[in-house]
């Protein structure tokens, strides 16, 4: 009896405490409706957008992009570069606390950078040029390069598959495995609280956060946690995400479909947040196998047949959400160039037919691999198939689901073209088309020459010139065809304060209150 009574009292006290804590938290818990369940939040290892959106609140980097996409020192205080451009010495902020209470030192940074170089999703892009990474003081890290690398600072500021800083013991223990949720320890303004499958991932405010006090600018500057907690809740149906925000069950919902834009833009119950960074459709061509493998004139004929505006209008709809832009970077970006883009979106079937005949095309079916998981991909492929038929080019659509497409496209004999899309990136070095190992396997001599010029220097002007050459070459050898820029949009409760009008790449919630 006594034990029962004891249990009862203990139970009630626990329940009471739980209610109190929850009440305190729910007052300022932001509820974010996500499109699905995120994969691992170990940002070094994966490139999923949702993982980055969530993880950037917990994990920080040496540099961070400002609103013009220029990397600014973040956990770093700045750098000195030797005259030959081969030795980079980075100073670190002192007194930065990890979520486990330890102070961040050069050892943590070195261990994190090394692990990313060896196993990280994008580590190979930098590590091949790196001779050594060493701690040259408690708050100083020195990176020695084999050859100058112009993209290093952007790479150290890009969290998507990038070198976020973890405590040394955690990265060392994890090695090539993704870090387990209980070890999600970073330096960010929010820390990991819990992950319940299919229900939510919850981050809570980190009280000992040591941030910058410069004004917030893009992802750089101060990151003040005004909210007590952020819950990321999977709500796969877009209609439910919208109704949920209208009903006040969610404060923010991501990836709303284009066809709802016209209705939602005037709805006083919510605010629209357009992405400031477009994603763009790409149609890759197979350089290893099949009729397109080395027939550049035939590839140009395919390109000449396509009317991208038509494809964008069909697949996206609302004009405010797309732009038929042939440059790989939007106008105003430091990497914008119109080199080669006269070949973009010609939509000229007669010319394409002539070009295809001249290229020796004999009507062999061209296998176009596309998935139904992304409606825009499938709509674009359907439009292209029709446009190419008008030019006498015979397309055989291979329609599969995304997981199958990922597997098939790794096999050169399974496809001639495939449809995908590309996220916004701060530096052309991150373009999948420039990666020799990416399906399509574009690795011509002309590319190698320009690539060397592009990556082998830190001089921005030289790099921009080389990039213009590369973009022109993409329109000449057509390893991939850009469909156009698509601006996704999210919706938020009007009660949220501190959200900008647009999001840069991933929406963030430091500096936001409700």
């Amino acid at each position: 009896m006594r034990r029962k009574l004891g249990n009862l009292i203990r139970g009630s006290v626990l329940a009471l405490t739980a209610t109190m804590t929850v009440n305190a938290a729910s007052a300022e818990t932001l509820r974010y409706a996500t499109i699905g369940e995120p994969p691992s939040l170990d940002l070094q290892m994966g490139t999923a957008t949702l993982a980055t959106t969530i993880g950037q609140h917990m994990f920080e980097m040496l540099y961070a992009f400002d609103s013009t996409f220029e990397p600014q020192p973040f956990l770093a205080t700045g750098e000195t570069i030797s005259d030959d451009g081969l030795t980079i010495t980075i100073g670190l902020r002192e007194g930065v606390k990890f979520h486990n209470g330890q102070e961040m030192t050069a050892d943590d940074v070195v261990a994190s950078l090394k692990r990313w170089g060896e196993y990280g999703a994008r580590g190979k892009l930098l590590v091949d040029d790196v001779a050594s990474i060493e701690a040259t003081g408690p708050y100083e890290v020195t990176i020695k390069l084999n050859q100058p690398n112009g993209a290093w600072k952007s790479m150290l500021a890009f969290p998507n598959g990038g070198p976020v800083i973890y405590p040394a013991d955690i990265v060392t223990a994890a090695g090539g495995e993704p870090i387990a949720p209980e070890n999600y320890i970073g330096t960010g303004p929010f820390k990991f609280n819990e992950w319940r499958n299919n229900r939510h991932v919850e981050l809570v405010k980190f009280d000992d956060y040591t941030g910058l006090d410069t004004p917030a600018n893009g992802y750089s500057g101060a990151r003040v946690a005004e909210l007590d907690a952020i819950r990321f809740i999977p709500v796969p149906d877009v209609g439910t995400r919208v109704s949920g925000v209208q009903a006040g069950d969610y404060d923010y919902a991501e990836f709303i479909s284009g066809d709802l834009y016209g209705i939602l833009k005037d709805d006083p119950a919510l605010k629209i947040h357009l992405s400031g960074a477009p994603i763009f459709g790409l149609v890759f061509m197979n350089s290893k196998n099949g009729p397109l493998a080395d027939n550049f004139p035939l590839r140009r004929a395919v390109l000449a047949a396509l009317n991208m505006e038509e494809a964008l209008r069909v697949s996206v709809g609302e004009e405010a959400l797309w732009s038929a832009n042939g440059s790989f970077f939007p106008e105003g970006n430091i990497w914008y160039t119109d080199a080669g883009t006269e070949a973009y979106s010609q939509g000229d079937p007669a010319k394409a037919k002539e070009m295809a005949e001249a290229a020796g095309y004999d009507g062999t079916p061209i296998k176009l691999l596309v998935s139904t998981n992304y409606k825009t991909h499938f709509d674009q492929a359907t439009v292209f198939t029709r446009q190419l038929a008008d030019a006498g080019i015979n397309i055989e659509m291979v329609v599969v689901d995304w997981a199958t497409l990922l597997k098939k496209r790794a096999q050169p004999d399974q496809w001639d073209m495939f449809v995908t899309h590309h996220g916004n990136i701060p530096d052309p070095v991150l373009l999948t088309a420039l990666n020799n190992n990416y399906p399509g396997w574009w690795a011509t001599e002309e590319k190698a020459v320009l690539d060397k010029k592009f990556t082998g220097t830190s001089d921005l002007d030289v790099r921009r010139e080389a990039w213009a050459g590369l973009q022109a070459l993409i329109y000449e050898q057509v390893p991939t065809m850009k469909v156009g820029d698509v601006y996704s949009y999210d919706i938020a409760s009007p009660k949220l304060e501190g959200m900008g009008e647009t999001t840069l790449i991933w929406p963030h919630f430091w500096g936001v209150s409700k």
Partner: protein, 315 residues
């Protein structure tokens, strides 16, 4: 009775063994590869191979099958490739939502389907019967996602009476009042199923009403209400009860659309997401559990016949 149950259990185990082979083969026959889904766009071939070896997916299919069955026999359904968590835990996480949703839905189905079916049968041929049958036909034909979205739009977004989506466990803050999150989803899911039960009850009542013993009962001067409840309904329920069993099992596996629309953390949505991710251990585990559920329900339905109709011999 005991022998009957033992024999049926034996048969169920044999079915289960056969099902395990079929499940395994079919899942691995789907093209696609969890490794590419996990590693994303730019994984190098070395990273792909390293992960494949780590997950044991480089072994031959029969070897993988025997590993899986061996572990299942020890109560271990494996580890999710995507979540890196035991499949048993993932299923238990989803089971609460799925079972509660199915139970609440069953309550609606029984409360709405049976009495209205009886009403339609007793008013056979009148405008009441035709009206009710028409409504039932309509409810059975409207797609659940449409019903669900409209219920959300009316009761959550416009009136604000009920939450739009999600389901916090009844074991959490809010306790039993969290069941309100299941109100709209259970109505959505109940609509087509209640309509079917209604039609089944009505049809089976009309069948039984033509039997000789019903005529005899009537001619003996038994009150009409008593004829309906004691003579017709009790016999008509036999078919309806077996439908209850299968409906309940189907509610677990078919709730996918409802779970997706209402963002419920149930088993149905979990399995569909896992198929898209090619998370083999989760798909296998969930389907195996659902097969078990069907087998158990089947057995219970058969046993319940014995109680509803003493003439049924359990052989």
């Amino acid at each position: 009775m005991l022998i009957y149950i033992l024999r049926r259990t034996g048969a169920a185990l044999a079915t289960l063994a056969a099902a395990s082979v079929v499940i395994f083969i079919f899942i691995h026959l789907i093209p696609g590869d969890p490794i590419y889904v996990m590693l994303g766009d730019e994984a190098t071939p070395e990273q792909v191979e390293a992960l494949r070896t780590r997950l044991g997916l480089d072994r031959s299919l029969p070897v993988q099958y025997f590993y899986w069955v061996g572990n299942v026999l020890q109560g271990d359904l494996g580890t999710s490739i995507f979540f890196q968590e035991p499949v048993t835990r993932i299923i238990l996480d989803g089971a609460e939502t799925s079972l509660l949703l199915a139970t609440v839905t069953m309550v609606w189905i029984v409360l709405l389907g049976v009495p209205v079916g009886v009403l339609a049968a007793t008013r056979h041929g009148t405008w009441i019967d035709q009206g009710l049958s028409g409504v039932a036909m309509l409810l059975a034909s409207i797609p659940t996602f449409w019903v669900g979205l409209y219920l959300i739009l009316i009761f959550a977004a416009t009136l604000g009476w009920l939450p739009s989506s999600g389901y916090p466990s009844v074991f959490e803050e809010g306790g039993i009042s969290n069941l309100r999150y299941l109100l709209l989803p259970s109505l959505t899911l109940a609509a087509p199923n209640a309509a079917l039960i209604l039609r089944l009850t009505r049809a089976s009542m009309l069948d039984v009403a033509k039997e000789d013993y019903v005529r005899t009962a009537r001619s003996k001067g038994i009150r009409p209400r008593r004829v309906v409840t004691r003579h017709i309904l009790r016999n008509a329920l036999l078919a309806v009860v077996s439908a209850f069993g299968f409906t309940f099992a189907a509610l677990i596996s078919e709730a996918v659309v409802t779970e997706t629309v209402f963002a419920l953390p149930g088993i149905g949505r979990m399995v569909v997401q896992s198929i898209l991710r090619r998370d083999y251990p989760v798909i296998q585990g969930v389907i195996l559990v659902i097969v078990c559920l069907y087998l158990v329900i089947n057995l219970l339905v058969d046993i319940s016949y014995r109680f509803l109709d003493p003439r049924v011999e359990l052989e």
